[in-house]
């Protein structure tokens, strides 16, 4: 079983207090697809410009990701430049240029329509609706990520989306913003009542919470005493989540399966934080992954 990942594909310039690098592979779909491909075949739907580095496409190919849904447009690729402060929770966006993303109409390739999990990585809700329209009757499980910007400027489309997906994933600050409450647990519960069967609230270094009708799960983040670059950690988390879920090869998505998938996504996100871009994800071996997963289990264990 495979995962269809749609969303942004970007060229990032990232600066931290220790290092900086330009022309990095970025974007929600890039991180999510590479993370998903650690567990399952992945397909990507997005848009890039004429300036998009071939090496980035080669990387996606090397992960055996189906690229037929990538449109290569005449304009320039979506670009994001940001700087992290000494406190890695504080980030300043230095520059954003939507470029080809602005007029993008996602187009899912025929070869991609068999995917059983539809991961709508962070993108404009209208783009997310577009993808659902093209794969109706297809995927067995639809996940949507979102962000503060869409909550603010595209709330109607986002609310409409909530009735078309199985799982909504968003940050704690975004959940609180959307539900106008300062309590994360209340926000998660209220969001679930707006349509999706499940809601995941991501809390960054504090882990994640999963809300279901009669069930609840919470798990910490993997502890890192040196975060190198957290860009894309949330996208890697949900990509890993979706990829692991697909790898289980079931049409039924049980709550227990979702909790297992959250643990796996958490581990992938921790690796993403240890390098620029998707470098650590690319270098990740099954052995290193399993070792950290076991460590994570030990760290969370009490009797």
């Amino acid at each position: 079983m495979s995962v269809l990942v749609s969303g942004s594909i970007a060229i990032d310039n990232v600066k931290t207090q220790k290092a900086s690098e330009e022309n990095l592979l970025g974007g929600s779909a890039s991180y999510a697809a590479i993370a998903a491909s650690f567990f399952s075949p992945a397909h990507i739907v997005g848009v890039v410009g004429h300036d998009f580095p071939q090496e980035h496409l080669d990387l996606l190919k090397s992960r055996e990701i189906n690229l037929e849904g990538i449109e290569v447009s005449e304009g320039e690729t979506f670009r994001w430049s940001g700087e992290y402060m000494e406190d890695m929770n504080e980030r300043e966006t230095l520059e954003v240029a939507l470029n080809v993303l602005e007029s993008w109409k996602p187009s899912v390739a025929e070869s991609q329509k068999g995917a059983k999990i539809n991961l709508l990585a962070n993108a404009h809700p209208i783009n997310q609706h577009d993808v659902i329209d093209q794969v109706l009757e297809g995927p067995g499980f639809t996940i949507a990520d979102t962000m503060d910007l869409w909550i603010q400027i595209s709330r109607d489309e986002l609310e409409r989306l909530l009735h078309r997906i199985d799982l909504l994933v968003l940050n704690d600050s975004e959940a609180k913003l959307m539900m106008d409450t300062s309590n994360i647990v209340a926000a998660g519960k209220q969001l679930r009542e707006m349509g999706p069967k499940y809601v995941i609230v991501k809390k960054g270094e504090h882990g994640a919470m999963l809300f279901a009708e009669n069930d609840f799960f919470m798990c910490p983040a993997f502890p890192l005493d040196d975060v190198f670059d957290p860009t894309g950690a949330g996208d890697s988390f949900i990509g890993g989540f979706a990829g692991y879920l697909a790898s289980l090869g079931q049409q039924e998505y049980s709550f227990d399966n979702l909790t297992s998938a959250i643990a796996r996504g958490t581990i992938l996100a921790s690796f993403t934080c240890e390098s620029f871009s998707t470098h650590a994800l690319q270098a990740l071996t099954e052995e290193k992954f399993e070792e950290r997963l076991q460590q994570f289990r030990d760290y969370c264990d009490f009797s």
Copy 2:
């Protein structure tokens, strides 16, 4: 086995956006001793003034807490007034009057010196040293809580204290302040290197982390979608932790025992958040406690 709890005993006036109440039992030692007494016999060392309500003393007595270490002084009891904002993480101190606490010299009663766990609840480090001086050779395990104020104005005494205790407990913001880092994991590790065998970093609604030389444990907080009054949650946490540890009746404090104790402290803290003062702790039955602990286990479980 029993727990010796020293620290502040206060009269609190608390205001939230929903309710307010005056002349509540407050103070680090009050919460911690009542929480500890849920699992084990407890002794309390502190000071109150002539104005201290008899009902508060009666409550402590009803928990079979040994009060011989409470000095009743001529002045007025330590008072704290605070207000919680709509976001319960934001608290404004409206008034603090140290009163009898200012010149307090803790005096551990002879009948209290057999306690095996010495919990130095939040108080001036000099008071904490005083207690250790009086029970030298006594307790098998010494725990100290602290706060930002002592880090700022009494750092030398605090650093000296770190060599005399087994476990330091403090908030994440305090750990970061003390180690001058924005990374909680790094702060915890560095604090451990300053003396104590163990460090617990409390993260409020995000749970807690335990640092040991070659071991690590983390656990979320119990999820509450309606926090009524979080005053004393951290004190209840560490009081419950110490009480549970004492109840195990072992002189050896294994890492696994500490993680079990953290889970129990977490549950008691969650109850404290559901009422003013120690009201919910007082009303807590073993059945309600066990039910929530099982729920907590389920919430944290993944495969």
